[in-house]
Amino acid sequence: MRTTARLVTSAAALALVLTACSGGSEDSGGGDGGSGDQTIKVAYQKTDAFFQLDELLVKSKAEFEEANPGWTVQLEPIAAQETDYFTKLALMNGSPDTAPDVIYEDTFQVRPDAAAGFLAPMDDYLAEWEDWAQFPEGIRAAGLGDDGSTYGVSMGTDTRGVYYNKEIFAQAGLPEDWQPETWDDLLEAARTVKAEVPDVIPMNVYASKAQGEGTSMQGFEMLLYGTDDTLYDADAGKWIVGSQGFEDTLTFLQTLQDEELMPGLEDALDTNLPNRVSTELLPEGRLAIAVDGSWMPGGWMSGDNAWPEWEETMGMTAMPTQNGQEPGATSMSGGWLLSIGANADDPEMAFNFIANTLNEENSFKFATENSQIAARDDVAANPDYVSFNPSFEFFSSLVPVTNFRPATPDYAQISNNIQVAAESVITGQATPEQAAETYDQAITRVVGDENVSEAS
């Protein structure tokens, strides 16, 4: 008797546990219910140095909710640095219950995420969107997936260059109008700063896994694309291994580290270094030269870390090529998009929210406040936009020499291996030669023997 009673109790308990586990998937997602509870969930990044998107979305949310009674826009800011943002986003996308309806996507993630089935194609909606004509062909291409459909609308693009602190340069006896023509010019200036103004960090180039894509793009690729080699042969569709440029780039990083021209390892390996460069190290005059992105002045013009003196203090110059070879300067461009999640309950309304967020007025707001190179022609042509930020003219002038990351689904993994190579060199765990060899082996494993080719 007792056994049976216990059995029944345990069975009931088990049933309870099982229901508890399987429950919860019923009511999330939202949107299916009757009118009045439709929700659009927006996932995006927000940090103390990157708050402009949050402001834009709060504004757009109010407009959208007013225009569409019964609809709620649920903003889900992810407070994380870039690498953690990608991880969290991928995990959210892993289950339909948590997948967002509107996603803030980096251009290089569009292809892999579209291939993974996380994003919904938006061609049908774009065809009917009259504003789409304002987006030039090159900008539209950023949202293309492998299948030729468009998976995102560009919020703007960026370029990268060299920032330098004119006050520190004056103390070191360097010219106010500095125009380095080769890598050696960069190193010479850094050495001079180190000798003349010993308590500042001469130069920052991102070079560790902690800074993720920042290391690949603002750091490594800014150097590599100034050599005679590249990462990827787009015509042949093959990744380049064994290139001299790759090794030279690592050697440049090694020189910075060996001569103590870059931040100490504790800072160089810090996830928050990009934030600290823009909110602390440059404004406090503790860093003389920084290779960084065009968005940085956005954080100096307003917000918690406003630094009105930046216009007088900071100089900007183009990143030189290795030996001054043509075209004399180089840059990298990326940018971010808004995409529709594949699990959106109502993709059309999700698109409408994106369309509202990127209409002329809102695009203008974001492009100016976040120092973007405007995606829309009407914004780019607006005289108020051009005169808003004195750095726009300089960074737009880099467009003719800029490069884009290889647009393949494999890029993210290649990029990881670049970061591993850079970090192993600055931590002294590998010579540039060894690190380049490790990279070659690793990417061959990622893409397969048939998709790599030896540098000529």
């Binding site: 059995l7 996380f118 494999d410 993994q413 192993s424 765990q429």
Partner: protein, 310 residues
């Protein structure tokens, strides 16, 4: 147990086969265990089997392989064996477990327990509070506290400065030592409490008898105390080892596995591969190896300190 309670019963029922009756009976009597077994299968064996399966695929966090992972057999493991970084991680993991759990936490915990036994009331209360506080702190808080202690402008270097010694960037220069000390600091309290409880169970008359026979302090400890608490020692070794094998937050917060891979133990490496580099299948293979490693440690302890031999 169930059959022992019913001697001779089978003879009264010659019609039925005694064997099948026994089976039915023992099945009926173990049936209350079924829910527990089902839960264990579901929540313990399930994930392990799933992780085994996951490690045989090339699943990734994004890209085409996120939608449709392929079954790749033992490719991930073959890749691991080829990867010098994996072997380095394995060695670092063993160093971490042996230095911080086996040596640090256990010996220090035992020493503290012995000292506390000999100490006076108030002293005991004060010391045990201090030690236990580090254990009560949530791992993430403890990790931040230790980061603040070892960082180059942290507590340790400030204190060294008082004596005119110039500190160093400990987390960069000696990352493994820093995380080992951190784990000892955090985990010793557990061993201390286990051993304190065990020492209280050693009957004082045996030790006193040995004392009268002229046994020295060390002899009394090694010949009487240790054999009597060997069950606790074995349990404690097992628990601290498995706990240390799984330490992630502490290392991730303090050093991020770096510089480079200098403090990437297996859990850190698995996280890096799966969630930073998106190679979930490969990361799962590393996690599975960690699981096997834990199993090996457990077997060694069970064999080495057989509790039933007394």
């Amino acid at each position: 147990m169930a059959t022992l309670a019913l001697p001779g019963r089978d003879h009264r029922d010659p019609g039925r086969s005694p064997g099948s009756r026994r089976v039915v009976q023992s099945l009926l009597r173990t049936s209350p265990l079924i829910p527990a077994v089902v839960l264990l299968l579901l929540f313990l064996a399930g994930p392990i089997v799933y992780s085994l399966y996951g490690s045989l695929t090339n699943a990734s966090l994004t890209g085409p392989k996120a939608a449709q992972p392929d079954f790749v057999g033992f490719d991930n493991y073959a890749q691991l064996i080829d990867n010098p970084q994996f072997w380095k991680s394995l060695v670092l993991t063993l160093v971490f477990v042996i230095a911080s759990a086996l040596i640090g936490q256990n010996l220090l915990g035992m020493a503290l327990a012995l000292l506390m036994k000999a100490a006076h009331g108030p002293m005991r209360a004060v010391v045990s509070t201090i030690v236990v506080v580090s254990w009560v702190l949530p791992e993430i808080v403890a990790a931040f506290a230790l980061y603040a202690f070892f960082a180059s402008d942290g507590t340790l270097n400030i204190m060294l400065g008082w004596f005119g010694v110039e500190g160093s960037a400990w987390l960069i220069v000696l990352p493994m030592l820093a995380v080992i000390l951190a784990n000892v600091w955090r985990g010793t309290a557990f061993s201390m409490m286990v051993y304190s409880a065990a020492l209280n169970d050693v009957p004082p008359e045996i030790t006193e008898a040995a004392q009268i026979d002229g046994a020295s302090g060390w002899q009394r400890f090694s010949r009487i105390t240790v054999p009597m608490i060997r069950r606790s020692i074995s349990t404690n070794l097992m628990l601290t080892t498995l706990q240390t094998l799984g330490v992630f937050t502490l290392i991730w917060v303090m050093t991020g596995g770096g510089p480079g891979v200098e403090s990437s133990t297996l859990p850190v490496l698995a996280y890096q591969e799966a969630f930073k580099f998106s190679q979930v299948g490969y990361g799962t293979a590393i996690a599975t190896v960690t699981l096997v490693l834990g199993g090996l440690f457990a077997i060694v302890y069970i064999k080495a300190l057989k509790p039933e031999v007394d």
